[in-house]
Subunit: 300 residues, 2 copies
């Protein structure tokens, strides 16, 4: 990762974390257990890739980080809820995430389910409050909230998770199946992160479409590298055990086409992602290009 990308990410991550901290009820709000669980899941948090993409899309298309910040935080709240529910014993049954015990291991299954539920409602509370936007345009806010609802639902992220879970029971996996999972479980929320930032910044239809294409390709590549790291990554860097996908008979890219072919596909997708940005000036979109390159080299 280049020095300037690292600085860009650190700067936006701080903005997101500060705003998240203000948007989430304090730990002493009754019932305290659920607010403690929500904060445990949210902080210190992960890479904050989705909110950073949301903010970058706004900045590239003439808006500010502030324009996109509510949507960026809402998307991170939804991502966090999805991780809590994915880790549940009835789903992936994972005990560790980011080097710490998962929410249900610390707070119990009931609170883990409810913390996820509460985060999803909170995301839409944040999205639909005009006070969270510096210069609120109600049509844009409604469009963004609606697109995020669609991307997170049964024809998006939740649908992808269903296919992911159900694939474990199958003897063989097809590439078509893996692509359905990646597109729905990962790429649609990453795509909507970029769309949300661009829409809130008042981007043109053409700009929004290009950023969507970038997001889709990046999202697919991101999930392929996730699959690869799940197979041959460093447990210490990842903060969770590897080879779990194989144990659980997950439908992953490496399982279907092998590690080398998966790397090739990820490289191709990243090239396409960067090409989609060719309508933007280099000094505007450099961070999206460098982020795309980073997806290929990441170790966690």
């Amino acid at each position: 990762m280049t020095e300037r990308l690292l600085r860009y990410i650190e700067e936006k991550k701080r903005l997101v974390d500060e705003r998240l901290n203000r948007l989430v009820p304090p730990e002493n709000t009754p019932p305290e257990s659920i607010h403690r669980a929500i904060r445990y899941a949210l902080f210190p948090g992960g890479k904050r890739i989705r909110p950073i993409l949301c903010i970058a899309a706004a900045e590239i298309t003439g808006g500010s980080a502030e324009d996109a910040l509510a949507a960026a935080c809402a998307i991170e709240l939804i991502h966090t809820y999805s991780l809590i529910h994915d880790d549940l014993p009835c789903m992936d049954d994972d005990d560790f995430r980011r080097g710490r015990p998962t929410v249900h291991r610390v707070f119990g299954e009931a609170i883990a389910v409810l913390a996820g539920d509460g985060l999803l409602s909170l995301a839409f509370e944040v999205l639909t409050d005009a006070n969270n936007y510096p210069d609120p345009s109600l049509p844009r806010i409604l469009t963004v909230a609606n697109e995020i609802a669609v991307a997170s639902g049964t024809r998006g992220m939740v649908g992808g998770q269903v296919a992911d879970i159900e694939a474990e029971q199958k003897r063989e996996h097809s590439l078509k199946e893996v692509k359905f999972i990646h597109m729905n479980k990962t790429a649609k929320m990453i795509t909507v992160s970029l769309r949300a930032g661009a829409i809130l910044a008042g981007a043109s239809h053409r700009e929004i479409e290009r950023l969507s294409l970038y997001g889709e390709r990046l999202g697919l590549a991101f999930q392929i590298t996730d699959d690869i790291l799940g197979e041959i990554g460093d447990e210490k860097k990842l903060g969770k055990p590897v080879k779990r996908d194989r144990e659980k008979n997950k439908a992953t890219y490496p399982a279907v086409v092998g590690i080398e072919e998966s790397r090739k596909e990820a490289r191709k997708l990243i090239e396409e992602a960067k090409q989609a940005l060719d309508i933007f000036e280099e000094e505007k979109c450099w961070m999206l290009k460098e982020l795309a390159d980073y997806v290929l080299e990441r170790e966690r």
Copy 2:
């Protein structure tokens, strides 16, 4: 129940069911399992009390059923998600609801969690799509979506469910605790049902406040009678076993103050609910008054 109330309920229930059927993806939408589970939970469904209250509030304040229908359906989607999650083994661990096996008994726990998640996203998808309103006012739509997000979250319905679950572990329950549970778990979503219908119909601040007061009192009374039926109701009529609350050491009204005192409190709340309607003409608000009376006499 009077003949005219029965007709009113049947008519609105049909409207709600027809619209829900159009809003929910068909069963053959991939992944099919989740859409089958969602439809299993939604249809034929229960009393549809919340959407009917939402529609009634719109009609009483000068609007039409159509004005309130999207919000009414969204609230029923959220209510349905909450029932699926409440029934999970890690929560109330219930095998039957409305005379049928619960969603996780039929589709498994993972699909039950995800069906609930998908329903919550779908509710906000419906709420934030201006095409779902005959005469869309974006400020009203945003306000309604925001209030529903708050009422369904950790300072509302989810918070009430947390307190409900956690109360099972306590040796003794206080009236204050039971009131917190009832207010958050039940009354806030019932109150927002009325507020949503009134706001979408363009009601005055005074009208909205009176309907809120009605909703809060009705919601509390509704939960008390629910507790009473859980204690001494008819299993056949309820479609689920009774005495489960006691077995699970639930914090209920009858457990804390006894059946007779609970009945008295419910009657008092219903009187207050009806009094809150005294600013409306009798020919407008009769259905809310009769619905309040029905809450006292209901057997399921």
